[in-house]
């Protein structure tokens, strides 16, 4: 049922939002012609600055937004026209984890009720609910005893995020979509979450879409990475290649900007930044042209195609 073990294929996905007030009305191409595939047991990172379209891609896959155009194939089935049975199957197989754990839980509801609710919704473990909840919490380093009868405010951000992962694991998903799961969590707890994803992949062959702008953890857990800029994937391939030898000028700036936890390697060069991001969204040719130090005349005039080099795709005319 799956070709080449691809669990998810995203083909030419585009999403246009119309923004505006009474004075002006503009169209934002939040996601522009994005394609990628994920294999079973693969961790795939979507990275890029804020506003680059990462969350929009995730929300389209999860069915929260209609795509303007494009296709999403999950285990051979087109998600844009599923029957009811397939939809239930998908909702069980694909689980999401969001950025702010405090927003995922209602402060007035006991945290454990979310776990039990998921069991109900998917009709899992009718007679041994406590056992299943215990098992899910154990897998994230917590116990039912520590969690039961408590409200969200009684947990730290890191604990709450682990509880939302436990909830996601209850349905035994094949694909986890984690949208900036560690950005609200400080360094000392960050690795406990990231290691969880690593374990899930290694022990249970779960695939993960890891959305982040934290490239150090992306390097640590992922197999493949796609770098997004202003709605487009500008470079994609194996994480070692893309982050260690970036080819696209934007990926170069990105990888040079990672603050390394090593005081001996401080930055020397100044980088240039954009002031008005709307302007960049509206550029005709390469959207990085305003900040690119290699910009050529032709870059501003045409849609830039992808070029294959060393087993990766780069959207830049330098590699024509």
């Amino acid at each position: 049922m799956t070709d080449n073990n691809y669990i998810l294929k995203v083909e030419n996905l585009t999403k246009i939002f119309t923004l505006g007030n009474i004075f002006s009305r503009i169209k934002i191409v939040a996601v522009n012609n994005v394609s990628f595939e994920i294999r079973e047991g693969e961790v795939f990172t979507l990275a890029g600055e804020s506003g680059s379209g990462k969350t929009t891609v995730a929300r389209i896959i999860l069915g929260f937004h209609e795509p303007t155009s494009g296709k999403i194939i999950y285990k051979g089935k087109d998600l844009t026209n599923l029957n009811k049975e397939d939809r239930n199957f998908f909702r069980r197989e694909v689980q999401a984890i969001f950025q702010n754990p405090f927003e995922s839980f209602n402060p007035l509801r006991k945290v454990s009720s979310y776990l039990y609710e998921t069991l109900e919704n998917f009709n899992i473990a009718r007679d041994n609910k406590d056992e299943v909840v215990e098992k899910a919490l154990r897998s994230v380093g917590l116990s039912r005893e520590e969690v039961i009868d408590k409200y969200p405010t009684e947990f730290s951000g890191g604990q709450l995020q682990r509880i939302s992962i436990a909830r996601a694991l209850i349905t035994k998903p094949s694909l986890l979509i984690a949208d900036e799961p560690v950005s609200m969590i400080d360094a000392s707890l960050r690795m406990s979450i990231v290691n969880l994803f690593k374990e899930l992949k290694e022990k249970s062959n779960v695939s993960v879409i890891y959305i982040t702008h934290d490239l150090a953890t992306a390097y640590y857990i992922s197999d493949k990475i796609a770098i997004m800029f202003r709605g487009e994937i500008v470079e994609s391939g194996e994480v070692e290649k893309v982050l260690m030898e970036p080819k696209h000028p934007y990926t170069m700036v990105l990888s040079e900007s990672i603050p390394e936890p090593d005081p001996k390697r401080r930055w020397k060069k100044q980088i240039s930044l954009s002031a008005f991001e709307e302007e960049e969204f509206l550029l005709k040719g390469c959207k990085f042209a305003k900040r690119c130090s290699f910009v050529m005349e032709e870059c501003k005039k045409q849609e830039i195609p992808y070029f294959e080099i060393n087993g990766r795709k780069v959207k830049c005319l330098l590699y024509k």
Partner: protein, 330 residues
């Protein structure tokens, strides 16, 4: 020469919940000295008291926060003055001109319906004459030019700027009056790496132009490695280790700092990283003795009973841990 120092600073949140008193010991006996023209970094996990500490250093103690003990001194015109004895009027003058504070989440404090420059006039409050305003606007332009910021951002509405640009504009405005000390609380935390780098670049260039002292709070150890000269590591309301940046990364002494440094992922390194075991302590009901003892692999009997004193165990390297000194904090 220190420009700011605190002595045994204690400041707690005192809450009244249904008639029951709750005390959160957010800052619990901090003594530190910040040297003139240095970048002093404060690191530590979420909820350990970093923001509360800098708020107290700024003299901004409002209920439910209250000062329990200790003092904060600023050195002005060669003399240390206690900020808690200053008349309100004096303190107000000190702010902006002597010490400037950029609070956590300040990206969102700009009024969304007015232009950025008008927010700025609102902030500096005082009634300035049209003449003065014009002069100020002119030097604001020059200042932005010097820092490489486009001056048209001053006339933009907040939503027109990316998060990173908004944050840089705020940092520039907060430092425009050339304060001796700048306190920046998590100025880059919500930003992506490129925008984050922009803010750090800006702080650095402000410092190299104006030669001021910066107190930088962030839990991002990558940012500290890039910009801080010295770092104080905070845990459960106390500074538990303090040294030069290189020292903290190369020879961390406190078991908590060691975990913190060892767990940092790096590009090019896929080796397994462990995180600090256990969970952060509650500041309403902190552990006895050394507050790290429930999570510490080296914990000894004495660690549960006594609080280790914060002492210099190597030149310019202070730590509070019984592995290095048996001195007890009274």
């Amino acid at each position: 020469m220190p420009i700011l120092k605190s002595e045994n600073l204690k400041s707690f949140y005192i809450l009244d919940i249904y008639g029951k008193k709750h005390v959160i010991q957010a800052v619990n006996g901090v003594s530190l000295e910040v040297e003139e023209s240095e970048i002093y970094g404060i690191a530590g996990e979420s909820g350990c008291g970093k923001s509360t500490l800098v708020r107290v250093l700024y003299g901004m103690i409002e209920p439910p926060l209250s000062l329990i003990d200790g003092n904060v001194f600023y050195k002005r015109n060669g003399e240390f003055i206690s900020i808690f004895t200053l008349p309100e009027e004096e303190l107000r003058k000190l702010r902006w001109e002597f010490i400037s504070y950029i609070p956590q989440g300040s990206m969102n404090i700009l009024n969304p319906v007015i232009k950025i420059i008008d927010s700025f006039w609102d902030f500096i409050g005082a009634h300035i004459s049209k003449d003065e305003k014009e002069k100020m606007e002119h030097s604001l332009f020059e200042f932005f030019k010097m820092l490489g910021l486009p001056s048209k951002t001053l006339y933009a509405y907040p939503h027109q700027l990316s998060g990173g640009m908004r944050q840089r504009v705020i940092v520039a405005l907060a430092t425009f009056l050339n304060p001796k000390i700048i306190i920046a609380d998590e100025p880059t935390t919500a930003l992506d790496v490129v925008a984050q780098r922009g803010v750090i670049q800006l702080l650095k260039s402000i410092q190299s132009f104006l030669n001021n002292t910066i107190i930088l709070v962030t839990h991002d150890m990558g940012v500290h490695a890039t910009i801080s000269d010295r770092i104080g590591i905070m845990y459960a309301g106390n500074i538990i280790e303090e040294a030069k940046t290189e020292e903290i990364y190369e020879d961390p002494l406190h078991p908590y700092t060691q975990y913190l440094i060892k767990s940092l992922p790096k590009i090019g390194d896929k080796s397994y990283k462990v995180s600090v075991p256990g969970t952060p302590p509650s500041l309403a009901n902190p552990p006895s003795g050394c507050k790290f003892h429930p999570r510490c692999n080296y914990a000894m009997e004495e660690c549960k009973l006594y609080v280790p004193k914060f002492v210099e165990v190597k030149p310019k390297h202070k730590v509070a841990c019984f592995l290095y000194s048996k001195e007890v904090d009274s």
